[in-house]
């Protein structure tokens, strides 16, 4: 066990080194003028003439040897200094901190439906292996894999926001519309009397006793969460199904059955619990995957999180932002990967032996 953990921790610096080298190499594809935005904290510095820029390049040593530059860049990144974001009109770090809660909220709301449907339907399909319900989930899964999120999202938006929201009772005003909040709610949230405890709007609204804002925020989350759920649960459903199929073949399940345990309890207590292990460990990746991969979904629904920011920055060639985001997310991924692996070793003794 300790040897496994030690080996994993030993590889960590190697992976980190490799990742930073790749990120740095991508940065070197740009000329020093384009790279400057990563090194300044105040945009007015960039507005000067060519001499001013040349002075900045000199100052930050952007024409020094690659080794020196790499060392300096790593040092800067460790101090979370990723430069100026032209799209956010602030430093990349501040932009990140400002948008992260929105993406986190979307992610937290999406995990529930994804895992619930995946586990429920996966178990159902495995229990009724090769019967019509299994075939049906198979077809739905393939359809889920095939429908691009940008098509599904736009069709949902057209149907619910364009058509349905006109005919809804006033209680549902503002539901299904793009963004994170309606305009009136935004004004209250931005106002002084509203305390931002967690910066997750739904939670803050409840803590402030503003149930109308909570309701509004919820209405804005419905379509993005539906889109994210639909395209993600296909994969998890398959994993759950095959894991359940394998568990149902185990000796202890047969033993439980021959003891005379009711079939319903065999499935619930003996099989499903053990079949859940891969899903539990994978849900760590689900969180990271959602945090990093919501680029399309957030863009469609105009949701002001990290994903839509990345897309916007890419369009405006805001290199500091996209590279900073990629660095954040990749490091996050490495950390979660490590935690999941270590947890796996704790839960499942078989892993330690390999």
């Amino acid at each position: 066990m300790l040897a496994y953990i030690a080996r994993r921790l030993l590889f960590l610096p190697i992976i980190l080194f490799g990742v930073t080298v790749i990120l740095f190499a991508m940065l070197q594809l740009l000329n020093p003028y384009e790279r400057l935005s990563l090194y300044v904290k105040d945009p007015s510095q960039l507005r000067g003439g060519k001499e001013q820029l040349d002075r900045l390049i000199e100052k930050h040593g952007l024409k020094d040897s690659l080794f020196v530059q790499y060392g300096r860049w790593v040092n800067k990144s460790i101090h979370l200094d990723f430069g100026w974001s032209e799209t956010a009109k602030t430093t990349v770090l501040n932009g990140f901190l400002g948008r992260f809660p929105a993406t986190l909220e979307l992610t937290l709301f999406a995990i529930g439906p994804i895992l619930f449907f995946a586990i429920w339907l996966g178990v159902l399909a495995a229990v009724h292996h090769n019967r019509w319900i299994d075939q049906l989930t198979r077809v739905i899964t393939i359809l889920g894999y095939s429908l691009p999120s940008f098509v599904l999202g736009l069709v949902l938006l057209m149907g619910f926001y364009g058509l349905l929201s006109r005919h809804l009772p006033p209680l549902f005003g503002g539901w299904f519309s793009p963004g994170r909040l309606s305009e009136w709610a935004q004004q209250i949230v931005g106002g002084e009397s509203f305390h931002a405890y967690t910066r997750l709007v739904t939670v803050d609204a409840l803590l402030n006793g503003q149930w109308r804002i909570f309701w509004d925020a919820l209405g804005h989350l419905v379509l993005p969460v539906a889109t994210l759920s639909y395209i993600n649960w296909a994969g998890y459903l398959r994993i759950m199904r095959s894991s359940m199929l394998e568990t149902l073949r185990q000796d202890y399940v047969t033993t439980a059955r021959s003891k005379g345990v009711e079939e319903r309890l065999v499935i619930k207590r003996h099989a499903r619990r053990n079949a859940l292990i891969p899903i539990v460990t994978l849900s760590g990746f689900l969180v990271v995957g959602l945090l990093s991969g919501v680029v399309i979904t957030e863009t469609i629904f105009g949701y002001p999180g990290l994903g839509s920011w990345a897309a916007q920055a890419a369009l405006q060639l805001d290199v500091a932002t996209v590279l900073g985001l990629l660095t954040f997310v990749t490091i996050l991924f490495i950390v979660v990967n490590l935690i999941v692996d270590l947890l796996y070793a704790v839960i499942d003794p078989r892993v330690r032996l390999t």
Binding site: F11, I14, I15, G18, V19, I22, M26, L27, L29, L30, R138, V139, I142, L143, Y145, S146, L147, P148, S149, F150, V151, L154, V155, L157, M158, Y161, G162, L163, R166, L228, I231, N232, G235, R238, V288, G289, S292, G293, V294, V295, I296, T297, T299, I300, A310, A311, A313, A314, L315, L317, V319, V322, L323, L325, L326, V329, T330, F333, I334, N337
Partner: protein
């Protein structure tokens, strides 16, 4: 150089050509067997049918939608300017709102008078071109790295697989988005980005296949007979490992086209290029219809949306069945973009 010296090399060439012919025949035979097996399954038959239609459309694009400028067929024509007038910036302005299907534009036009039918036809050709180009070039790197890694093992394997792992750490969509941005946008930049972040997956898979094949007695025999490692890899191991790799990699065309059109949906390719993703990107501006008809611009999203969904569905239906036949290990290995 005299004649006697060149003769052996000509014989060598003939021998190589014969080998190539044998290999191609072998692949064709295996393909036919796979196809026959696939046609027994209704789902994969539907998939195959869909792909045959798309391939036909792609192949006959110049006939189905004759390009206005034959040397730039992928540029969507914006002909028949409805209300030409001089804009303040001194540019021609086209009909900016979409127009519904009509005799001249059987699927209607999207914003800026881009013809939807033309874009769908040439978009199909573009999808195949893009998918095949990316899969082939990615695969080539993957095969070399994977084969070398598996064959030599030891520290070579250790180093190469660590590099593979490092590349796999990056979230695919975000990484390709960033690299495309840095390279300066455009379809060619998307292709490069996909190759840079796509080869490690194949390298890992090829490595597994080669390790599997390497255990066979005939590899042992070849080595005992004194064959060098390059000869063993390329003559004995790879030919036996390559078929499942080729099949499974070609099935990735669907998901690769999906990811690439996600980037063009975001606007990372030049405007007016016949690409499904971009066409769907345009329709983002036309979600809301008019007060009288909320779904007025339905055709801007439904037609391109159907095209790409059916294309990807075709590959997935086929892939599902083929993976059952070939290798259950690879199932769901490629994470999809949200």
């Amino acid at each position: 150089m005299n004649a006697t010296e060149t003769r052996p090399s000509r014989e060598g060439l003939q021998w190589a050509l014969r080998r190539l012919k044998d290999a191609l025949l072998e692949i064709l035979r295996a393909t036919r067997d796979t196809l026959l097996q696939l046609l027994k399954n209704p789902l994969s038959t539907v998939g195959l049918f869909l792909l045959v239609i798309f391939a036909t459309v792609a192949l006959f694009a110049p006939l189905l939608a004759p390009p206005e400028r034959p040397n730039a067929p992928y540029q969507i024509p914006q002909r028949e300017i409805v209300r030409p007038f001089q804009a303040p910036q001194g540019k021609d302005v086209y009909e900016t709102t979409p127009t519904p299907p009509s005799a001249n534009h059987i699927l209607g036009t999207t914003q800026d008078y881009y013809d939807i039918y033309y874009t769908l036809i040439w978009g199909a050709r573009n999808a195949f071109k893009l998918g095949i180009l990316i899969v082939l070039s990615t695969l080539m790197i993957g095969v070399v790295v994977g084969a070398v890694s598996a064959y030599f093992g030891g520290w070579v394997d250790e180093i190469l697989m660590r590099i593979v792992e490092i590349f796999l750490v990056f979230p695919f969509l975000l990484a390709t988005l960033v690299l495309t941005t840095i390279l300066g946008r455009g379809l060619d930049k998307i292709v490069i980005a996909f190759i840079v972040f796509g080869w490690p997956g194949y390298a890992r898979f090829v490595r597994g296949e080669v390790l599997h094949v390497k255990e066979n007695a005939y590899v042992e025999a070849a080595r005992a007979a004194g064959a060098g490692s390059r000869r063993v890899i390329f003559r004995h191991v790879l030919p036996n490992a390559i078929y499942p790799v080729l099949v499974l990699a070609s099935l990735d065309i669907g998901s690769i086209v999906l990811s690439a059109s996600a980037l063009s949906f975001l606007g990372l390719i030049p405007e007016g290029f016949a690409d499904w993703g971009q066409l769907i990107g345009f329709s983002r501006n036309w979600i809301l219809g008019t007060v009288q008809n909320p779904l007025e611009y339905w055709y801007t999203i439904i037609f391109p949306g159907l095209a790409i969904s059916l294309f990807v569905l075709g590959w997935n239906l086929l892939g599902d069945a083929v993976r059952d036949i070939f290798d259950p290990r690879l199932r769901g290995s490629r994470s999809r973009s949200s």
